[in-house]
């Protein structure tokens, strides 16, 4: 026995582990994985496997190359490669579940490799990345292989067009609600769409699990969804062709629920303070809606996340960063929310 001298504090919270909250995200995704396999069968298994393995292997190979460049001996077990904290596995799963069920496997793999390398490893690995690797990989796939795959795949003969696919052509086409009932949109049963994004119900279950385990900040998904609901609700209120179906469709179709719960909450790529995270989440929600309404893409949430990721350092800038909501900051934030709602409403009214 020796006496050692340390600096205070001497206790560490036993349950505070990176692997715990990263692992929790994977657990929260499990119902979606099961649902995807139940709906799409073996093709879902292959796509998810390809997504996870491509990301994990990229990280492994990258670490081996870096160690070799540093002149270290080759060992099968790499010391810098940290699969145990579940971070890259979780990214892979999140990425895989955003994909369509008919996407070719080589596209999945290219997206996984590029997403991991360009969005994560090149910045220095875990904790250093600016972009959410899963969102980045999804954006890469959408942009590089979009024309051939992303949209046409949705309009497949059996499943029919996705809600957002229809609305991209005509925003005011309330007939979507005739194809898909509110329950279908909520539960995801019989909804066309990507592997894991269709069932709002299971996403909420996963979100509740993460909330109860305190593995994410519930303010983020609530703000994203709240923003979409508020803005689309305001637009519907001031437009005679739109009704309650419009905000409902906006919230429960496409990837907004999924991205709000699993992508916008990735702590590494979002601001570090609670007010900062709320502003970030508002940006994601508002941008998603604006892209959906005014953009050419039916699906904007991954773009919104990657775009807002770039603002994280600006929100966290030492000069104004604070973890307190003050009267002034709430007033400014409320003014921005109202202004955004007004611009969106006016835009729908005059531009479309």
């Amino acid at each position: 026995m020796n006496l050692v001298q340390k600096t205070a504090p001497y206790l560490r919270k036993p349950t505070a582990r990176v692997s715990r909250f990263m692992g929790d995200v994977s657990v929260a995704l499990l119902p979606l994985v099961v649902f995807a396999i139940y709906r799409h069968g073996l093709s879902a298994v292959w796509i998810l496997l390809a997504a996870v393995l491509s990301m994990v292997l990229t990280e492994y190979v990258y670490n081996q190359i870096i160690d070799m460049l540093n002149g270290e001996k080759f060992k099968l077990k790499n010391k810098s490669f940290t699969i145990s904290n579940m971070s890259i596995v979780t990214s892979g799963l999140i990425y895989g579940l955003t994909l369509s069920d008919v996407i070719p496997l080589q596209v999945v793999i290219i997206g996984g490799v590029v997403g991991t390398f360009l969005a994560k490893l090149i910045f220095g690995g875990l904790g250093q990345n600016i972009f959410n690797p899963a969102a980045f990989a999804r954006v890469f796939v959408a942009l590089s292989f979009g024309g051939a795959i992303a949209y046409e795949a949705y309009v497949d003969a059996d499943a029919g067009a996705t809600v957002l696919g229809v609305l991209a052509n005509d925003l005011f086409d309330s007939s979507v609600t005739e194809y898909y009932s509110y329950w279908t949109m909520f539960s995801g049963i019989g909804m066309p769409g990507s592997l894991g994004e269709t069932s709002a119900l299971l996403i909420i279950v996963g979100g509740l699990y993460l909330f109860l385990r305190k593995s994410f900040d519930i303010f983020v998904p609530l703000t994203v969804i709240g923003t979409v609901a508020l803005l689309s609700g305001t637009i519907a209120l001031f437009h005679e062709d739109l009704g309650l179906w419009f905000p409902y469709t906006m919230v429960f179709s496409g990837g907004i629920m999924y991205a709000a719960v699993f992508m916008a909450t990735d702590p590494i790529t979002i601001p570090i303070t609670r007010p900062g995270r709320v502003y970030f989440a508002f940006g994601v929600g508002a941008l998603t809606l604006l892209i959906r309404i005014f953009g050419q893409l039916p699906e904007g949430v991954v773009f919104a996340i990657v775009f807002m990721n770039m603002f994280t350092p600006a929100i966290d800038y030492p000069k104004w960063t604070t973890n307190k909501f003050t009267f002034r900051s709430i007033a400014i934030f409320a003014a921005i929310v109202i202004l955004t709602a007004a611009i969106a409403t006016a835009g729908v009214h005059y531009a479309l």
């Binding site: 026995m1 205070a8 560490r12 505070a16 582990r17 900040d217 303070t273 973890n323």
Partner: protein, 432 residues
């Protein structure tokens, strides 16, 4: 996890039921001649002199006050030497061999209530200052300077919130001497002409609360109450206690007296009682010997100047399988780690903890934000760490690193086990 963490896992607290309590009379005591904040002690005794309890051994010079040093046992002066203090540094001490007769010095004597009731603020302050009473909660700030304030005081708050795990010496003292505590509170209220007195205790200490409320009812002629405060860390930090009791947010770095609040630790207020009623300095102290590496955690009542080694032996020493042991004076969150077993117990020594050395492995930060969410002074430990690593002075200033109270919660909650509190200290030093 990713949330506001205000609770520290409940480590087994001993002695709530006085089960393992021992009274230890030390063979000899080492009285520090230079209490915290003081130096250049002038001594009045020589080797071979016989001294009594409460006899002045010398006077120590503070920055703007003088603190006498008193003997805590009766016996003979054996030597002047050096000994390790709780802060880890060696300091001059006078060694007194205990004759176990407990002879009181002639200055110690009871005052009648009428005598005390007739005293002015200055008289009370003089007596408290003469008895060298300092804050026994840990800061060791001279009490007579606080009580001598010329600001109007609305409320005297007795801080009975021990918020760090493992500690409960204040809790035991309050249970042993509730009457004296309320009388001490009356004296303090009299000194600063405060209309209101409050005793703040954690809401979880039901037994103590019932006892104190019963006692407070006996003082219905004055506005004295017992307030239950939420059990979170760092509730015992006086600014957090003031906020919970009065709702007033005293900014870090200003004196609470300016906001009409006089805050005193519960053991200090009992010291006020002893000084005024019996003209007696603080001579003994409850010391918790605790921690996961201790065989038999025990609560001791012993004289100031006793050795911790003695108490450690009495509590069975370290467990055989303890591995490396970290000895901490004070609480596990803010206490001082020392590589010594034989340390002098001073007025502010509430505990000695022997903790197993965990040696957590640091992982890269994943920006989960737990430290930011949990910080009681609303600064951002992780951003401060990054600014310190980059040597960015301007950012450190903008991130207000100097507001940090080093409560340790950021290191405690970190999911990557990064020692953030240490970076806060480094950041503060870097700005100096």
């Amino acid at each position: 996890m990713i949330q506001t963490n205000k609770h520290i896992a409940n480590y087994k607290n001993i002695s709530e039921d006085f089960e393992r309590m021992e009274h230890v009379e030390p063979e000899r005591v080492h009285i520090a001649l230079n209490p915290p904040r003081c130096k250049d002690c002038e001594t009045y005794v020589e080797v071979g002199d016989t001294v009594a309890i409460g006899q002045t051994l010398g006077v120590s010079q503070g920055p703007f006050f003088k603190l006498p040093v008193y003997s805590t046992v009766s016996g003979t002066v054996e030597a002047f030497t050096k000994k390790v203090m709780p802060g880890g540094e060696e300091d001059d001490v006078v060694v007194i061999k205990n004759d176990f007769k407990d002879t009181m010095h002639e200055s110690v004597g009871e005052r009648t209530d009428e005598e005390i009731n007739a005293m002015s603020q200055q008289e009370i302050v003089d007596i408290v200052g003469d008895k060298a009473l300092t804050g026994l909660g840990g800061a060791a700030f001279p009490t007579h300077i606080k009580m001598g304030t010329d600001k109007p005081i609305d409320v005297v708050i007795v801080n009975g919130v021990e918020c760090e795990p493992y500690l409960n010496s204040d809790y035991v003292l309050m249970q042993e001497r509730p009457e004296d505590m309320f009388k001490g509170l009356r004296y303090a209220m009299q000194a600063v002409s405060a209309p209101r007195g409050v005793v703040a205790v954690k809401e979880t200490k039901k037994k103590l609360l019932a006892m104190l409320k019963e006692e407070a009812a006996k003082h219905s002629d004055l506005d004295i109450s017992v307030v239950e405060v939420e059990d979170f860390y760092p509730q015992g930090w006086e600014i957090a206690t003031f906020k919970s009791v009065t709702g007033i947010d005293v900014p870090v770095g200003t004196l609470p007296m300016e906001y009409g609040i006089l805050g005193l630790n519960s053991s200090t207020i009992i010291g006020v009682y002893d000084a005024l009623k019996y003209n007696m300095p603080v001579i003994d102290r409850y010391v918790t010997i605790n921690g996961d590496a201790i065989k038999q955690p025990t609560m001791f009542k012993t004289r100031i100047g006793a050795s911790t080694k003695h108490l450690l032996d009495k509590s069975g020493g370290f467990k055989e399988d303890a591995g490396d042991v970290n000895i901490v004076m004070g609480g596990p969150m803010m206490g001082q780690s020392t590589p010594y077993e034989d340390i002098t117990i001073t007025q502010t020594t509430a505990s000695l903890l022997a903790l197993r050395d965990e040696n957590p492995v640091e992982e890269p930060c994943v920006r989960c934000g737990s430290c930011v969410y949990s910080c009681p002074v609303d600064i951002q430990p992780v951003q401060i760490m990054n600014a310190y690593k980059k040597g960015d002075k301007k950012a450190l200033e903008q991130l207000e690193v100097n507001k940090c109270i080093e409560c340790g919660i950021c290191s405690y909650v970190c999911t990557s086990k990064i020692h953030l509190t240490d970076y806060m200290r480094k950041g503060k030093n870097f700005l100096r």
